[in-house]
């Protein structure tokens, strides 16, 4: 039985006339998880927005449950049981989780006021019904990202949505949260709902979906049962011509002199008496990529803050090239960042990476103000030509005078990358989740750029919550667990996914086998809780 059938959907965006969807067809089985894959700009989001009533197609027909329908706006879509969870959450931070879920359908008491008690009871019941463990009474802004996403999903389920669309649901989640989400999606499917997932991560498709539709350049290339296709085949279909560069086949120069070495780095945790970073020591050399990963809350965030110049550590010695200083003279470290010796790409580009209401051009020149402002005045023509150059080179779909907030997540990430890689080469690059939100092709291009920077003599620290990325790029790997290095590989040592996974969960891993023991008694609890995140 088909839940959704979209035939010959065409959608042109005016005034450019770009065909976002060009004769796209989609058939979705009821009660299945159906993935839609493709690169940024392949038209997957547009197709789903048409289904959710956020856009209207220029031509084509839509059938829901076998009936021919017109979907002109989101409320008509909701009548048909279609709901969409967006990539950037639409949540009122100040309202409680329950209020967010039942927004617009709050229970009203006899006095005409919102009945808070029964509101929270209803919300909790709903969450329980679908197996979410969620505190519905707290303000939504205080929830973790994964929990906020659950609020979004529950909001749709509360409206009796039977066809749930998720736009890039995993892009903001950590590894553990992704696994938890997938378990929940399987449960929701059990209850007879149909789930559509937009993604560009093939491995997630293989893991969760029943069916997959590949889109390229606005067209649907084909629909396959996941069991009958391989990941390689899917990526080939999504990318078109198979110009797949495998970055790891390149020759690499041997590491050179140390660039940055940190020893005994300590950072106090903001919440409890625990240390966010506890006597952490490492060094990174020229022509070397040091990949550092961890599960959420184990010190990766604090390390990013310290390396990015946002959080003065409480203790530690820092040696940069040959000059050595105590890290608590944090201004010396910040000066390295602001003089261009260290370049830093933040993981949270929405908060830290852009000024949303300024133009793309202004965002682009913000890091290299010295070269665009001569004697304090802007050289507008130079700034514009350089921005256009970057837009072409990094394939950003944007206009220099467009506001940055209008860009999609992937394009904002491209803008942040363009900004970093348009600067003169630095001694050290600190890159945090550099390929977040990017499609496969751009991810590959970014990998090549990072490797080129390494080969040109930069030292690179790669902080990532994505183990695959760490494995694809790193010359050496370090895993943080509770603020300490639980695994530090040496140069040339082969590190497996399993070893990294175990080290992230707190098991001390001996050098060559996966035999492990628990470091302390209470880690078993952690192990249990995070079992879903264990990739092995």
């Amino acid at each position: 039985m088909l839940a959704v059938r979209m035939l010959h959907i065409t959608k042109k965006y005016l005034p450019s006339g770009v065909r976002a969807n060009d004769d796209a067809c989609l058939e979705v089985e009821r009660g299945s998880i159906h993935a839609i894959v493709g690169e940024n700009g392949a038209g997957k989001s547009t197709l789903m927005k048409i289904l959710a009533g956020l856009e209207t197609a220029d031509s084509g027909t839509i059938e829901i449950g076998g009936r021919n329908v017109q979907i002109r706006n989101p409320s008509e879509a909701r009548m048909l049981g279609i709901g969409m969870v967006h990539q950037h959450f639409q949540i009122f931070d100040e309202l409680s989780a329950a209020e967010n879920m039942l927004f617009g359908m709050e229970p009203v008491s006899r006095t005409g006021l919102v009945d808070r008690k029964s509101l929270i009871r209803q919300a909790s019941f709903l969450a329980e019904q679908y197996g979410f463990s969620l505190d519905c009474a707290v303000p939504a802004g205080t929830l973790a990202v994964g929990a906020r996403q659950q609020v979004e999903i529950l909001r749709q389920l509360a409206r009796n949505v039977s066809i749930l669309i998720l736009d890039e649901p995993t892009s903001v989640l950590t590894e553990q949260e992704i696994q938890a989400l997938f378990c929940k999606l399987a449960d929701i499917r059990q209850k007879g709902h149909t789930i559509l997932i937009i993604t560009h991560k093939i491995d997630e498709v293989m893991q969760i979906a029943d069916q997959v539709t590949v889109m390229r350049e606005g067209k649907t290339v084909g629909t396959f049962p996941v069991r009958e296709v391989s990941a390689a085949e899917l990526s080939r279909l999504a990318m078109g011509s198979a110009d797949f560069i495998s970055p790891r086949e390149r020759s690499k120069p041997a590491p050179g002199a140390p660039v940055l070495s940190l020893s005994d780095l300590c950072v106090k945790s903001r919440s409890r008496g625990r240390m966010a970073l506890d006597r952490l020591s490492f060094e990174v050399h020229r022509n070397e990529i040091l990949g550092i990963c961890a599960l959420g809350g184990n010190g990766l965030e604090a390390l990013e803050e310290v390396l990015g110049g946002f959080l003065p550590p409480s203790r530690g010695v820092c040696t940069f090239n040959t000059s050595s200083f105590q890290v608590h003279h944090y201004a010396s470290f910040r000066r390295l960042l602001h003089s261009g010796n260290i370049l830093y790409l933040p993981s949270d580009r929405m908060r830290r990476g852009i000024a949303p209401h300024l133009a793309v051009m202004e965002n682009f020149i913000a890091l290299s103000r010295k070269s665009y402002f001569h004697r304090g005045w802007l050289d507008a023509s130079q700034a514009k030509s350089k921005t256009l150059e970057a837009i072409a080179r990094f394939r950003i779909s944007a206009h220099p005078h467009q506001k940055a907030e209008e860009l999609s997540g992937g394009n904002i990430q491209k803008l942040a990358l363009a900004r970093i890689f348009s600067l003169p080469p630095a001694d050290l690059l600190v890159l945090c989740d550099p390929t977040w939100g990017l499609d496969m092709k751009t991810t590959e291009e970014t990998y090549v750029r990072i490797l080129e920077a390494r080969d040109a003599g930069s030292a690179i620290i790669l902080l990532s919550s994505d183990v695959d990325e760490i494995l694809a790029l790193s010359d050496r790997v370090m895993v943080l667990y509770r603020g300490r290095a639980n695994l530090t590989s040496s140069y040339g040592e082969e590190v497996t996914r399993e070893r990294i996974g175990l080290a992230m969960l707190g098991n001390i891993v001996t050098t060559d086998s996966a035999s492990c023991r628990s470091p302390d008694p209470d880690s078993t609890a952690i192990h249990g809780a995070a079992a879903a995140g264990d990739p092995s």
Binding site: H88, V172, M350, R352, H357, F373, G376, L378, G409
Partner: protein, 363 residues
């Protein structure tokens, strides 16, 4: 998004202005109906006093322009603070004490100084005083994170009290029955335009200042960095911009503009400082900046509109015998309508950028 699009900010402003005018007419009509006959003019006469008289002859029009000059300069000051996401609520005291500083300086040197020197030194005195008051609030914010709204307001309250004391005490003109300082020699005052109205050349200074600020905001490095600070503080820190310096600096410049507005008033045709002369100017300047919607060019029409409101309600009071309470009500109601439409703007400026996406939790 399909469906109704939100109105653009310009059409929203025009809509609000229209609503304000309608509201004014309703209040006038109500007052005309309820007043005992004979004591007050009719509705049409009142409406004509309100809308037409301010423009009916050079004298009234000159006064309207003169009223708009301090609003323009002080409004620019508020706008500069807005652009860096700072709220200067101390405008009242900054104008008042800036004016006092200008009077004190000019009175001290007036025996042997040329008019130009008097204008420059008087203006500088106002600028400096305002800058100190505003900058102090800015420094308190930059160093100890004390809300600049509260500190600038309280500092301004202190400045008003001190100025009142000086005007009524040590600086009181012994030959006057009013609480006022001595008069500056008429030859040293700014040359007037549209005599005998109170307009003077400071109008051109205000327009030049606004043009310069608009250009600097768009094209200069300082203006660019200031806008980044106002847009997203975390991004500004990422770019290596010294955010505290800009917080203090923007507040100082904002204060300086207010001080200048006060100084130009006293070295203009007023020629002396009368106790409490600035009544409400600082607050009206905030309305001007809100109405201008973050654009320097918008300040000029906004200031003219606010000045027109004042002038219109004055005319109606004088010409039609409307009780001053009704005139004040009229002004307040219009002010309310036009500021209401800027609420989304204020909320946007005061809130942190909507950081709906955070990749990882905080450490």
């Amino acid at each position: 998004m399909t469906g109704a699009k939100p109105l653009s900010s310009l059409s929203r402003t025009l809509f609000a202005l229209l609503a304000a005018v309608l509201l004014a007419l309703i209040i006038l009509a109500l007052s005309a109906i309820s007043a005992p006959s004979g004591r007050q003019a009719g509705f049409f006469e009142m409406a004509s006093h309100f809308f037409i008289t301010p423009f009916s002859n050079p004298y009234f029009f000159g006064n309207l322009l003169a009223d708009s000059v301090p609003l323009m300069i002080a409004g620019l000051g508020i706008l500069i603070a807005f652009n860096s996401r700072n709220f200067n609520l101390g405008g009242e005291g900054q104008i008042y004490s800036g004016a006092l500083a200008a009077v004190v300086v000019v009175l001290a040197i007036q025996e042997h100084a040329s008019p130009v020197a008097v204008w420059i030194l008087g203006a500088c005195a106002g600028l400096a005083t305002g800058a100190v008051l505003g900058g102090l609030a800015g420094i308190l914010k930059a160093v100890w994170r004390i809300s600049e709204m509260i500190s600038s307001f309280l500092l301004s309250a202190i400045a008003i009290a001190v100025t009142d004391f000086l005007v009524a005490g040590p600086l009181q003109d012994p030959n006057s029955n009013f609480q006022t300082t001595r008069e500056i020699a008429p030859r040293l005052l700014l040359p007037g335009i549209l005599q005998p109205s109170k307009l003077d050349v400071s109008l051109f200074a205000a327009i030049l200042l606004i043009a310069a600020a608009g250009f600097a905001g768009k094209r200069s490095r300082i203006g660019f960095e200031l806008r980044i600070c106002g847009e997203n503080e975390e991004f500004a820190r990422y770019c290596g911009i010294r955010v505290p310096a800009y917080q203090a600096g923007a507040m100082a410049v904002s204060g300086a503009m207010h001080g200048l507005a006060g100084a130009l008033l006293v070295i203009g045709l007023q020629g002396r400082l009368i106790r409490g002369f600035s009544g409400g100017l600082g607050w009206s300047a905030i309305t001007v900046a809100l109405l201008a919607q973050n654009s320097e060019a918008g300040i000029i029409p906004a200031a003219l509109f606010i000045a027109f409101l004042k002038s219109g309600s004055d005319q109606i009071m004088i010409g039609s015998g409307l009780p001053s309470e009704i005139a004040a009500l009229l002004q307040a109601a219009i002010m309310l309508v036009i500021t209401m439409q800027t609420i989304p703007l204020v909320r946007r400026m005061k809130n942190k950028p909507a950081g709906a996406v955070q990749k990882r939790g905080s450490p």
